[in-house]
Amino acid sequence: MFSTRILRHVLFLLMFTALGIARAQAPEELKIGVIAPLSGGGTAWGLALQRGAQLAVDEVMAKGGLKIGDKVYAPKLVVFDSQYTAAGGRVAAERLISVEKVKFIIGPIGSPEVLGALPVTMKSETLMLSNGFAVPILKNPENSPYNFRVLNTSVEFGPAMVKWYRENYPKSKKVAMIGPNDSVGQMVVPQMAEVYKSQGFEVWSELYERGSKEFTPILLRMIAQKVDLFDLAGNAPSEVGLMIRQARQSGFKGHIWQAGGPAVDEAIAIAGKLSEGYMSFNVFDFDNPKAANFVKAYRAKYGTGIINAQTPIWHNATHMLFESMRRSGGTDVKAVRNSLEKLDGYEGGLVGPVSWGGLAEYGVNHQLLHEFLIVEVRDGKIMTRATITPVKR
């Protein structure tokens, strides 16, 4: 009788000890907010963001979770659609911060949505790794203490691209830009116009309401200006494909390129054969042998559709965030931010080592500088014409 009681006590003790060990080792959930345009013209980029970040999370979880100090975390993405609008970005940020209680956000992508989310994230001191070409995303009175931009903008790649074009096509004299009439077009078009003018180009530009699908009348105005180069500048993937198709169907014979984006695969999918000769800024070459495992993982999870070139960028950004947490030894936002600022040289993804710049242009070193490509569509395939590294300033 006595021995049975002892045995029962020992069993209980063992059971509780085992439960305690299991509890101590079970990864703690770590919510990471994702704000991405998952509807409308920027959907391809939104999916790139969501999927790139998710693949990084999957890689971490495959190794047993995110080990920070003596704790193990299970990162979990909480995704909100920002619809590529300022209102969408703001609402998503408010929901993530006040309802989901996240302290770290990946995205958004477009200037309107980033500018919409920024006042909310700055006030709540939430760390955001975003994109958006608008200068005030980084250059603002507060010096963007908690916002980092993880893609080159037209400020970084624009001058180098225009210089390359000038050297390769010296006979071109006049350039046209048709951009959306929102914070993207209103900032990118004038900024790129100055870059073109500095290289001796005459510039014609026009803005349209985002959501338009019929560009033929504007393209007709453009053709009447006898331009040599049509720059798609700050347009989203679906608009890029339609503009190429409609420009060629309207008889435009000049060069078409996008010093922005990138959305080359989407352009080929929508414009088909009419995308032949189209040139663009691009951020990643999926034929690079380094990308093989990434492509395999993507295919296994998301099927055979287009892999937008931004996907590795967001995969990289998510790994940068995780590495900053590891180095800071916790999830305190200020400590992670300080660690992220010192991440130069870290290589966690597929787009090369981290290099922060932007002090000269934005007053803060929160602009990630990474190698970029100038590509051209030839026989329906993407061919690299040049590889350029932005100058650190």
């Binding site: 959501g211 699908k213 929508i270």
Partner: protein
Amino acid sequence: MFSMAMFGQALVNGVSLSAIYVLIALGFTLLFGIMRVVNFAHGAFAMLGGYALFFAYGQYQLPYAVAIIGSALLVASAGLIFEYFVVRWFYHKMFQSMIGLMGLNMAMVFTGVIVWDAHERSIPAAASEVLFVGDLVIPADRVVVLAVAIVVLFLFWMFISKTKYGLAMRAASQDVEIAGTQGINARRIYQVAFFIAIFMTALAGSLYTQVYALSPFVGERILMVAFVVVILGGMGSIPGAALGGILLGLSESFLSTFFGAAVSTFVTFGAVILLLVVRPWGILGEPE
């Protein structure tokens, strides 16, 4: 900048744009005219038409005529299921129909996202050539749209004005109770009208997505265009939809070409607001 060549090109662009707009608006105005239903799921049915054509013509490579008619028939047939379970409860309940069908629209769109992904796709053009007539440049796919719009308008006019079902539809749209006393089965007439409306909407959606691009969200723009066209022409008026589509297409083309996109948007929506103030029932509509 003005030249006769540009004027001619703006006219060609305007006519092709008008054809698309007329097709988009027909199904929308028909449902309102007969059942007093504001079909906020109009864009979603158009989207289904696009996906049906994508698979029938783009993937399974059926002959174009078979693919485009078959796609619209398929969507219209599937539409009858929605009619039975959802739409019929909102007949002659204008405001309730707006909210109810907005919900149906969201359900259809996001089911589309789950099934087909949110990526934009391209449907191969039925004719990809570009025709040159003097100084004019005419994409052949726009000619196809124009031809389909003319044929559909003609057949629809024949149906409404020359057949017994057409007569019954007109009677039911004027007074459903009196039509009932004349032996007209209103339920059957509503089903036929719904089938035809969704057939035309799916057809318009197929052509629209073939000319532009296809995604589950394509219907947002289609719904907006349908609304503007029927407000211009008059809610429920078939000739009004044709006139509204032509006015919108031509004004957008000429204003955008000669004055720019901003002026075009400002003038077009300004005209719609003005019309709502002075003649809220539209150009060819009738006051309630």
